[in-house]
């Protein structure tokens, strides 16, 4: 069984969209640590993509620490990780800056932006934690 949903879009790599859908499912607790993750061949069959592409998804998720491999058995959802300094820098200095620049060039105010952040922070996680 596939535990996450996808609506494919043009112009974005398939594997990338799937990786993101999985992240979203984990963050919103549709997928919990310890849950069995669908196999390469099952993903390929259900989503009608090539097994190589499905394998690429798993490889990415493992490298990013979201899945763990049980050889001969399959993969399992990992516990949530903690950001390294490099990851924090990438988000806080690069990613946030990009969004801020884009907002400013479109005359979007900081308040509007922060409101959107608050909205999104609660949306995927009904508990509304910090």
């Amino acid at each position: 069984m596939i535990n996450f949903t996808i609506k494919f879009q043009y112009g974005i790599p398939l594997y990338e969209q799937i990786v993101y859908a999985v992240k979203k499912a984990i963050v919103s607790e549709q997928l919990k640590p310890g849950d069995q993750f669908p196999s390469v061949r099952e993903i390929a069959r259900e989503l009608r993509i090539n097994p190589n592409t499905a394998q690429k998804v798993i490889a990415h998720l493992v490298r990013e620490g979201l899945l763990e491999i049980k050889p001969g058995i399959g993969s399992v959802v990992s516990e949530l990780g903690i950001a390294t300094n490099a990851q924090r820098d990438k988000i806080f200095k690069d990613e946030v800056e990009k969004l801020v620049v884009e907002c400013k060039r479109l005359s979007i105010t900081k308040k509007e932006f922060i409101d959107a952040v608050n909205r999104n922070w609660k949306l995927d996680n009904e508990k509304g934690e910090e």
Copy 2:
């Protein structure tokens, strides 16, 4: 004269990095509306890239409304635009969501994230406006 600075990175398209550098320069008022923008051939020469790539930069900036073309003369920095509903949706629903998901999976708190936003909002624009 080139009015913006770039430090090229691996893995990111040249034209994309240049487009972003220009956006940043405009947002931080190193480039102001009405300023003459360097020509295709000047960009290519100064940054040591192919004229076609420089042309791609200008084409992107024009399409996004950051530059205006004066035929036979060159290009000029436009006034800051106002976001369309589609642009606001893309930022508020897609881009922000992506960052929020990434933060949650790395156990970054909302407070830490909002702090980073506040920091970045002031950084490129010394006046610290809304």
